[in-house]
């Protein structure tokens, strides 16, 4: 058990720009992540913030190896997974899971909730699948009979709980949550955040929480990474960041948080 879950060294990711592809020859590449270096220690709740196009989702997908980085290194508990072949990666996969932004698109519409949660368990060759599914549903606060429902029969908040149940059922060491509350209404947002907070505490999870909203992150995270155009502009403790933002961009983000009571004499 190493004390650092993730270790990133000069991580670079680029995508081909098909809109500027010449008739013959390769498309020019756009650098999305321009050399990121940071660690995620065990037990930390790391917030990753940034505006649209800052590369935060790409970073998430690189951490879970949905995309393969161009260069640099990603070490997961000391194992270099940067260019690890999918076959070799598979046994490791149960230890880092992901919760997706859009719960409608991330749940297969033609599978029942029980099947959705059981799928990864079967793939990883675990036993007692029924018990584990029930346990996962209990943990996210959904009744067990929801296992026979289809995703489209659930509300947005319930669907996102299914997404969380699927990730925690594998008992991973690390979970990446990619903008998981941005599609929900405010009360569901609060419920999902509370749930995540208690799960982190109970299961001793290490979590990376991607968001564009600092106010959401403030509650949950111990440390915050601010991304701007594919580079880290700030990496500090939550309290420190809110009290004393170092980067200009962080200040802009902080200013964008709506105040609960902007003007007393509003009406």
């Amino acid at each position: 058990m190493s004390e650092t879950i993730y270790e990133l060294k000069d991580l670079r990711v680029s995508f081909p720009d098909m809109s500027r592809k010449p008739l013959l020859g390769a498309a020019p590449r756009i650098d999305v992540l321009k050399g990121l270096t940071f660690d995620i220690p065990r037990g930390e709740v790391l917030g990753i913030v940034g505006g649209s196009g800052s590369g935060k989702s790409t970073l998430g997908r690189a951490l879970t190896r949905l995309i393969e980085p161009d260069s640099g290194a990603i070490l997961f508990e000391g194992t270099d997974i940067t260019h690890l072949h999918e076959d070799r990666l598979r046994p490791l996969r149960r230890r880092f899971q992901m919760i997706f932004q859009d719960p409608m698109s991330s749940l297969n519409p033609r599978r029942r909730v029980g099947g959705i949660i059981a799928g990864p368990l079967r793939l990883q060759g675990l036993d007692n699948i029924k018990c584990r599914v029930d346990e996962a549903l209990d943990m996210v606060g959904l009744p067990r009979h929801f296992a026979t429902r289809y995703p489209h029969e659930l509300s947005g908040g319930q669907r996102q709980r299914v997404g969380i149940a699927r990730a925690i059922a594998l008992k991973p060491d690390f979970i990446l949550a990619d903008e998981i509350v941005s599609g929900l209404d405010v009360s569901s947002q609060a419920q999902v955040l509370n749930l995540l907070e208690s799960l982190v505490k109970d299961l001793g999870l290490t979590l990376a929480f991607i968001s564009h909203d600092l106010s959401v992150i403030r509650r949950l995270c111990t440390r915050i990474l601010v991304l701007y155009k594919g580079e880290i502009v700030e990496n500090s403790e939550t309290a420190e960041l809110f009290a004393n933002p170092k980067a200009e961009y962080t200040r802009t983000l902080l200013d964008a948080i709506p105040l609960p009571d902007p003007e007393q004499a509003w009406f």
Binding site: R61, T64, L66, E86, L89, R90, P91, R93, R94, Q97, M98, F100, Q101, D102, S105, S106, L107, N108, P109, R110, R111, G119, P120, L123, Q124, Y150, H152, R166, L170
Partner: protein, 283 residues
């Protein structure tokens, strides 16, 4: 009837029952054709030529739907014709579906150069005029049941490939596919267990449509005498023969035409009905 949202509620039951009913009837008629046919479909009786169907004056009760100009029983010929129509529909439809849908799924999900090759192939294939292509194929292969089936499969697989490719591309971009990858499912496994179930309703609808089309293509080829040997009664062949004597004996043309119409309609409605009935998302 209107549901809570004010949309007219569809009645999937009726569609499914009517189309399923006619097709079941047709399958039974085809299977038991030798038992229930009142006459030998090939037996000629020149003295009983152009007898009208039972509800017209001068009809012979032995020939329920009348006879053609050679005195052959229209009903018996239609029953035997149903056999051929159904064999072509089932075999050609299924083969077309298997080949087209697999290629479409591979192209749409794997993308890259595989997609490039398959897509260009589809484009080139679709540039051939289908009926002429079929006639050319039969001319090369020779007439017969196998040739008809091969011609339909060779021409129509693109219909499945195109639609399934587009559908698989859309599904492949969904997060549940990424989620299967995060869980460690192989590419091939994801295509089969995640993508295919979501493309299946489209495939089923297309398959039933294709069965209807196969019946029509067989009829067209019979019409131009390029289907199965003229000894065997087919609906298309009967329509072609009836055309020459439409003013003297309309029933020779109209009854097989009506059977053809009902069958093609039933196949397409069966597809829609099945989709409404069994798709958990639409239900």
């Amino acid at each position: 009837m209107r549901d809570a949202r004010g949309n007219i509620r569809r009645l999937p039951g009726i569609r499914l029952w009517l189309s399923g009913g006619w097709l079941t009837f047709l399958v039974l008629a085809a299977i038991f054709a030798p038992l229930i046919s009142p006459h030998d479909p090939l037996a000629q009786d020149l003295f009983a030529g152009r007898l009208p169907p039972f509800f017209e004056q001068g009809a012979d009760p032995a020939y329920l739907l009348g006879t053609d100009s050679l005195g052959r029983d229209v009903l018996s010929r239609m029953l035997y014709g149903a056999r051929l129509a159904l064999i072509v529909a089932l075999v050609a439809g299924t083969l077309t579906c298997l080949i087209g849908a697999s290629l479409g799924l591979i192209a749409g999900y794997y993308r890259g150069w595989v997609d490039l090759v398959i897509s260009r192939f589809i484009d080139i294939w679709m540039a051939f005029p289908p009926v002429l292509f079929a006639i050319l194929l039969i001319a090369v292969l020779g007439t017969g049941l196998m040739s008809v089936i091969i011609a339909i499969v060779v021409i129509d697989w693109t219909r499945f490939a195109r639609v399934v490719r587009a559908e698989a591309m859309g599904q492949g971009a969904m997060d549940y596919v990424a989620s299967a990858q995060v869980a460690g499912r192989t590419r091939f496994g994801t295509a089969l267990t995640e993508i295919l179930p979501n493309v299946l309703p489209t495939i089923v609808a297309l398959l039933t449509l294709e069965m209807g089309i196969a019946v029509i293509v067989e009829a067209i080829l019979s019409f131009v005498n390029l289907s199965i040997s003229t000894d065997q009664p087919t609906w298309g062949g009967m329509i072609a023969e009836g055309r020459t004597s439409i003013y003297q004996a309309w029933w020779v043309l109209v009854f097989p035409l009506f059977a053809l119409f009902l069958t093609v309609l039933s196949f397409s409605q069966l597809g829609e009905g099945l989709k409404d009935h069994f798709d958990p998302v639409l239900r």
